[in-house]
Amino acid sequence: MTTANTPTAENAGKAAHAHHKAGEGRVNAVKALASRLHQHGVAPALVLGVIVGILALYDNSFLASDSIQSLLEQSAILGLLALGQGFVVMTGRIDLSNAVLASFTAVLVAKLLPSQGPLAIGLVLGLSLAIGLLQGLVHVFAQVPSFIVTLGTLGVWTGLSLTTSKASTILVMQHYGAVSWIYARPYGIPLSFVLVLVLTLLLMSGMRWLRWGRRMRAVGLNERAAAFSGIRTSRVVLSAFALSALLSGIAGVFQIAELQSASADSSDALLLPAIASVVVGGTAIAGGVGGVGRTLLGAIIITVASVGFDIVGIPSSYQPIFYGLFVIVVITVTVDRTRVTSVA
């Protein structure tokens, strides 16, 4: 967003200031601060800071570079899926198939690497992109709700990864070097996370500097008005689905790099955490409001929390309860409710 320094803004500001009474000025300053916190994704960053602080108090070794490294590494795949989901949610839709698609693409990479070598990665990423476009096309042109389309394809990709892998784990022996570098840690820096970070920065600049980003938000806020403004809304929606599936493909590649193997359901469990990352980051589930960088922050928060429950010593059977409550509480802090209209 921009700082208010246009000439007209200054004039209006001065005019308003002249009327100000001291108390009101302070109230407004607080409100302006709150809205700024939401605008720049500061709220999820603060939440992350607080959680890390608490965990550091419980366990001094939490802040050791070793555990930070593995934590960031762990958040990479979740981050990729959350970024993709973030775009789809931004347009007011949902992609329920992205996690199983990551499992499926991982199986494909594992299958193809020995014969194709590094080319396998290109092939699989190309296929993911095509899959995303296909899902988007069905949604847009057959007018089937995205929830239904992706619920259906969730079944399709699950089945395909089961049959392709014959329901057993595939170990990658040949050409593992083509992907293993992703999880290297040169000078102790987890490369996997750095890659995700670079990708995030690229997508953030796309959202900010390309008209595509603004159109994405416009479609999420009000598709009719966006269409009447001359935006080809179906293309915008297609781009979100394509991006989501492409990022699933990349997540699949990452997963092979991390585990050196693939099984039919290796990433399936990440569907809900990825959605949680998106909303914890402050993207509104109804679309239009949110961002890219904050979604990555959301993914880190979710990862830290799951590690954190162990550090704090919550028994694993109780963790889902705390996890659920945690997500709800965090969302009340990070979602900008000033944009939500209510009557009373």
């Binding site: 208010a4 603004r214 159109r215 269409a227 001359g230």
Partner: protein, 504 residues
């Protein structure tokens, strides 16, 4: 003074640095109809929200029957006997009228969690009778027209007043803005009935209405109450001066600004047919304003949408500057130099969650791009120019559009098309609907200016007067077809009745 039912003393309120209300005091006496009039952004909505419990004033007090009160919510205000009839109706469509009237206020009509239907319906019928409405309490609410639903809203407001032992105060927020002439007359009858058992606050920006129905009126401007007047002793011109703070220089419709168009045909529509309209043919010249008038369902909205590719066309052709065009979506039309302002500003025209800047450059981002990227500095500068030129009142370019007043929102929606130097045809679907007089006059002046600059304007007029006064030519539509055409020039405008005759 014992007969004062409800009053506000020295109320002030600011939103995000903008003083919406400053030191406003009003009194509402028992069985009195108070008018609250002012332009959009004058503070009447804010005042109403304070009266109805949606907002609390930053300073000042609200007194109900002489006692200071602090409404915690709309529900709380309703329990105290202050009920609001919202502009956007608050009835649930899928339940009966009786249920709606007593929703949240069922009292003894609910026993052990179950409705006592006969009692509920009888009470609802009493309330509907009290305002002279013919609606049956059993009707499903969604089957009613807007005007009838509004009657139900009034009955509901009356019903909520029962829970307090005083006579209720009923707040009507711009109740006439989407009503037709006959319906407005009905509403006024209802208000006269209401007056026998309640106090009424009537908010409007239509001067004639306030003069007709109110016992006393407060005029608001720039967040202050600038005058209290007696409708019997004040006229429209005086009221306009109080509301807008200046006299009309060019006249309301800026008719002096109309110049003859150059004569070259910009848009040629021939035998255009589609669902909702048939055999439409007309020429639209550069610099011409062509008004289309018609009753509801005359097909003119669909025609406008079809022209920009948002509704389907089955036969006929559209020619732009001599070349046949066929738009499959508004995006095609926009690229060809069309601009379209939809009739529903709030849902179709404005993107409330985007900023003023983002809305303004949404249709033509290429105007603020350097190479493939958006340039923030270029955008801020361009937008500041337009904000200045159109006198758009906004704290800054980065303010969400939703927090501007209706008139200023509409100016932004218009400016969205004006940033394009290649704009050729502007299709305006009731661009002044819901705007206050000052903003309307601004929009009229702007349309004149655009026509002088050679843009072809197709105007779906909000009222017959607007259509006749604003256009070079007027066509009437009836049942999806063009029924007549009239030449219009300053000093030689067609008779109102002659045009009306061809509409119905």
């Amino acid at each position: 003074m014992n007969d004062i039912a409800f009053s506000v003393r020295g109320a002030s309120k600011t939103f995000g640095g903008v003083q919406a209300l400053e030191d406003v005091s009003i009194d509402v006496r028992r069985r009195e109809v108070i008018g609250l009039i002012g332009e959009n952004g004058a503070g009447k909505s804010t005042l109403l929200k304070i009266l109805s419990g949606i907002h609390q004033p930053d300073f000042g007090t609200v007194l109900l029957h002489g006692e200071p009160v602090k409404f915690r919510s709309v529900a709380h205000a309703m329990r105290m006997g202050v009920a609001m009839v919202f502009q956007e109706q608050s009835l649930l469509p899928n339940i009966s009228v009786a249920e709606n009237i007593y929703l949240g206020n069922e009292g003894t009509a609910v026993k052990h969690g179950f409705y006592r239907w006969p009692l509920l319906r009888r009470r609802a019928a009493e309330k509907l009778d009290a305002i002279g409405s013919q609606v049956s309490p059993r009707t499903r609410t969604e089957q009613l027209s807007f005007a009838k639903r509004q009657m139900v809203e009034v009955a509901k407001a009356l019903a909520t007043g029962e829970s307090s032992h005083h006579e209720p105060v009923i707040l009507l927020d711009e109740p006439t803005s989407v009503l037709e002439a006959a319906e407005i007359k009905r509403l006024f009858d209802v208000i006269r009935e209401l007056k026998k058992r309640a106090s009424v606050v009537f908010v409007s920006h239509r001067m004639e209405e306030v003069l007709t129905i109110c016992d006393r009126a407060y005029v608001m401007r720039d967040g202050r109450c600038v005058a209290e007047c007696d409708p019997a002793s004040v006229d429209v011109n005086e009221l306009y001066r109080l509301m807008v703070g200046r006299d009309l220089t060019d006249g309301y419709f800026a008719e002096d600004q109309q110049i003859p168009h150059t004569g070259e045909v910009r848009l040629q529509v021939s035998q255009l047919t589609g669902p909702g309209f048939a055999d439409i043919s007309f020429d639209l010249h550069a610099g011409e304003v062509l008004a289309v008038v018609g009753v509801q369902d005359s097909g003119r909205e669909t025609l406008a949408r079809a022209l920009v590719g948002a509704a389907s066309v089955t036969s006929g052709s559209v020619t732009l500057d001599g070349r046949v065009v066929r738009f499959r979506s508004p995006a095609d039309a926009v690229r060809a130099g069309f601009g379209y302002i939809p009739g529903e500003r709030k849902t179709d025209g404005a993107l409330m969650g985007l900023t003023v800047e983002e809305n303004l450059t949404l249709a033509h981002p290429e105007q603020v791009m350097r190479g493939p990227v958006l340039s923030r500095s270029l955008e801020q500068q361009k937008v500041a120019d337009w904000v200045d030129k159109l006198k758009i009142k906004t704290p800054s370019g980065s303010t969400p559009l939703g927090s501007l007043s209706g008139g200023n929102q509409q100016k932004v929606v218009l400016a969205k098309w004006l940033v394009d130097p290649g704009l050729k045809v502007l299709i305006l679907d009731t661009p002044t609907r819901g705007l206050d007089v000052g903003a309307k006059a601004d929009v009229y002046a702007l349309v004149r200016q655009l026509a002088r600059a050679g843009i072809a304007v197709l105007l779906l007029a909000d009222s017959l007067e607007e259509g006749i006064a604003m256009s070079h030519r007027i066509v009437t539509m009836r049942d999806g077809r063009i029924s007549a055409e009239f030449e219009c020039a300053p000093g030689a405008r067609p008779e109102r009745t002659a045009v009306l005759e061809r509409m119905v």
